[in-house]
Symmetry: D2
Subunit: 349 residues, 4 copies
Amino acid sequence: MFFASDNTGPVHPKIMDALSEANTGYAMPYGDDAMMDRVRDQIREVFEAPEAAVYLVSTGTASNSLILATLAQPWETIFCSPVAHIHEDECNAPEFFTGGSKLTLVTAPNAKIDADKLRRKIEAEENRGVHGPQRGPLSITQVTERGTIYSVAEITALCSVAKSYNMPTHLDGARFANAMVTLGCTPAEMTWKAGVDAVSFGGTKNGCMGVEAVIFFDPKHAWEFELRRKRGAHLPSKNRYLAAQMSAYLSDDLWLDLAKASNAATARLKAGLKKIENTSFLYEPEANIIFAGWPRSAHARLHDAGAQYHIIEGALEGDNPDEILTARLVCDWSMTEAKIDQFLDLARG
Amino acid sequence: MFFASDNTGPVHPKIMDALSEANTGYAMPYGDDAMMDRVRDQIREVFEAPEAAVYLVSTGTASNSLILATLAQPWETIFCSPVAHIHEDECNAPEFFTGGSKLTLVTAPNAKIDADKLRRKIEAEENRGVHGPQRGPLSITQVTERGTIYSVAEITALCSVAKSYNMPTHLDGARFANAMVTLGCTPAEMTWKAGVDAVSFGGTKNGCMGVEAVIFFDPKHAWEFELRRKRGAHLPSKNRYLAAQMSAYLSDDLWLDLAKASNAATARLKAGLKKIENTSFLYEPEANIIFAGWPRSAHARLHDAGAQYHIIEGALEGDNPDEILTARLVCDWSMTEAKIDQFLDLARG
Amino acid sequence: MFFASDNTGPVHPKIMDALSEANTGYAMPYGDDAMMDRVRDQIREVFEAPEAAVYLVSTGTASNSLILATLAQPWETIFCSPVAHIHEDECNAPEFFTGGSKLTLVTAPNAKIDADKLRRKIEAEENRGVHGPQRGPLSITQVTERGTIYSVAEITALCSVAKSYNMPTHLDGARFANAMVTLGCTPAEMTWKAGVDAVSFGGTKNGCMGVEAVIFFDPKHAWEFELRRKRGAHLPSKNRYLAAQMSAYLSDDLWLDLAKASNAATARLKAGLKKIENTSFLYEPEANIIFAGWPRSAHARLHDAGAQYHIIEGALEGDNPDEILTARLVCDWSMTEAKIDQFLDLARG
Amino acid sequence: MFFASDNTGPVHPKIMDALSEANTGYAMPYGDDAMMDRVRDQIREVFEAPEAAVYLVSTGTASNSLILATLAQPWETIFCSPVAHIHEDECNAPEFFTGGSKLTLVTAPNAKIDADKLRRKIEAEENRGVHGPQRGPLSITQVTERGTIYSVAEITALCSVAKSYNMPTHLDGARFANAMVTLGCTPAEMTWKAGVDAVSFGGTKNGCMGVEAVIFFDPKHAWEFELRRKRGAHLPSKNRYLAAQMSAYLSDDLWLDLAKASNAATARLKAGLKKIENTSFLYEPEANIIFAGWPRSAHARLHDAGAQYHIIEGALEGDNPDEILTARLVCDWSMTEAKIDQFLDLARG
């Protein structure tokens, strides 16, 4: 019963097969391999973006930080939500890679930045001339860190605000596929057609071994990004093994099938939890993450039975068995109905 | 005929098998997996260093830069050879990760730093009080970037000079195994017993997919390194797949067998080249790298037949067929005698 | 009628005299001058801190940023108020000098950080292991950026919270003297006795030409600070002219007399404004800064008569003569009663 | 007998007078003062550069580092001489301000970079694609750190090499006036007409209190520089006192008169030393710096009599009275003939 994160799950067999197939003879290093050419073509086709600059890195933090460093000057501030991964969970990597940009937190109900509040925050910066930070990129996360999803219209509205101030835009798509599956839109609609300039396109959390694609829709950023990637020690010599993963991931709709699987698992879990008395939801789960609370006694039962997940408010230890503790539950592509039902049985008591 | 680099070769089947074996069910992310515990134990045992702090990253530049950032202050200077990978081939990554340390180049005949010259260079720094850079770590590469090897006595002498100034020491061991095989010494003899404080222990160039171990013999550096690794976006979420590689690499002497194979292939190539008239060697090859020159006409023949390698002095294009052009040839573990002999035939003309 | 800032005023004649007196013959550079020895002694005596490390720099931002860089690691976050000068008015200098530390904003009614809210913010950081920023220094401003003043008890409470988490503490004292004069306490009581580790001790805004003292009560920071200062290009070669200013400033209670003068001028201005109908105060002025609002029509009159000050909410241009616009008014040591009365006459209409 | 540095001397009375004159009433801060407008006009006129962007900072290291950070990307390398102030005497400030640029040292006989060697060094960089550092600015020092002077033709040749690689050029003119006086050329001839893009125009070493002008001949760099200056904590609030110095310095040829005085003093010292047996010169002194050697016994006599200067090779302490120790002697504008003759008498023995 592993609900701790979608990065605790296994690699999908098709990805493993692709690695084996890539493992024949010699190949040029540093992205000059034929497989990388194929990945570039696939991503350009999937995103309907024939000019896009496409790169692979091995972690999501690398993808986010290197993109933001390319889009932001060190004297600028990046606008993001208070629960953004780039703010809360990257140990100041964006600040490091940008050379000291600031992050300005914009109020975000349900972890989704509000366009009006964004405008107000933007207005509050770059109004002190050389003294304050200058306006830098907007960065949003889709699926958000709380499991909610921006509609295409909401992304369009946010990017429109940013564009009105000549600010570039970044989408942290660690769970890109999960959002797309829920929205039923195209990759282009969720990104450049809505005004997004650069995307961290996640693979690792959705069945890959360790690969994220960096996509700039305007190739003018290409060379600077390549230098920043190398300088950040994120240019893999044996790039073909990253490319093999990403290529298999994008082939035959594997990426969408895996996201559908994890979303469906989460929906089953959500439905089961909703039927349990004393269970409360902090956010309406829209993809593969659930934030829900239930009494300590049930947590204890789950824990003793070996269920793995994070309690994010409250502590398992405590006297009052009725106190509500909030859990974060994440389903990956490999989650089985049996495990979910086992979990629900235990939660029910 | 791929002699361009040992990072163009395939992954050894045992490493691939280990990845498949690791791909079962869930595992804790970020290095909290059981496989990582095993790797830590293996490295501690191999290095006879039960207290060592051990980490995995996916690139050699990450390993070098993160170690140097942990050992150096930004107002210090790192002493290295003029052909050090950290100086020539990392696009200022050490400067980036340290926050602006300087690199002081010490004359290095055959790419090996000379102890006396090191002492003189050290004396020439930190003698201007607060005005000049302060003395930082010594970094040496073993096998060197020119294919030569420091003896254990030479490493001991260099570290002894560094220690007399309280300077920490780093060994860039991208080709660690190849050096060991040549020297016939133990890992401990080549490192901490000789005075080395931290090692970049390479796997990628010797049959792994993309994994390097970071070893600090004094665990006091552990927590700072972990923070720097995360901040540098080099903490892999699915760490188990790095651990699986490294564990297989260190099992059953695989790492040594692979190094023996690439060294032996290189020896065969060297012996063959030595017999060819008009062939000159810039350095005496001691591991799996050869720098040798021969006439343009022979290069052209090789090139037309599809041989892949870097010409580092001179250009393939040119009028004079007798002009000597220098090639860098590297053999990886998978190089076959047949390919070497084919190469030699072409070189012979 | 210059109420724009206390850095628009002239240098006090005694400071000018000190510069002339220092201008005789040769003196050792970089702080090795006899005048610097004197300044060090004076500050140690004034602060009852015989061990303190004392340095001079020429700007307040340098003082703040260099101190924070000495106290904070780049993977940490600095706790400060949302209106802190280090956050709003230094163009990311703290992020630059620290190498990418984050700033965590703590709710601060009247621009004064609340101890309970500080504790909650601290608890919310460094609870995600290596993933989130680690807890760094607390930085408070006295006089605050809104003209309010922490009591000694409040500073003590805040530092006590910080100390309970082993966090170092910094006081931005750009208007240190103005606060002391209001509080009637000693420098020691407002700093190290209350738990402050390092102080930016301002001179420029209070009658000097351009000098701020950096004070670390624990001299263990001394050498690192000296290296950071030099590396930040803030080590003046002709340091004696900074020392001469600071020495005169601290002699014969000049610094206190000047602060009394500016506080008294502000009190007169405040009293006058309070008598004017339709005048509102955003904060209760406690030192030499006033945030007050009155109708646009009165602003227009003042503006046309040449009064200089910042309108921080609303714009001078606008149709409605009755709309309330908020002004920030600052009095320096040289502000005359005549100018204040002239201003009040105009404000009154 | 102060020959330690030209930054140990006093401020010229006309500069002091200018400070007093500037000290009347209020003035806008941060460079918005009328005096700064005047300085800008003066520099543009003196340099025949009506479009130039002009700024003031208080240290030479700030001037150099901020200019280089504006001209260089962090993945580039700056070409300079092995004895360049930016390399030897700024404690890694250029590396800090650029965010980690490298410095590539070009052989420089007599401390003057040779154009052919520059070309060779440039060719040796940016030839490894993304792996090595990219080519950044050329930085030369005039007067050099060894007291020699580039001819206008030499500067032109060096800049021409740089321009042929699209590299920007910087001139560290800490002793700009001393060079001009020797060469008898115009400021424009020594800078933009010769291909220099940006100048650190020194005042502090030549009779000012602490002011250096930053000059970009192409104003496109203006806004970025202003942000970098503020972020570097080098924007003085009471800028008028820097402007007053620089304005007086440039008025009535004061800057040239002071340089003539220090050059003349040095010439007298040189002539005297040349007549003394056993005196050797490391470089032919062309401005106000002398590197010369004479026996320890004479050094001891000078030292005992209170002469102040740096011994840069050898140590005053030692057994052999005949050993030659090398001194660096610098004359500032206030050096008197009497002091020089006193020094020579002692040197003579």
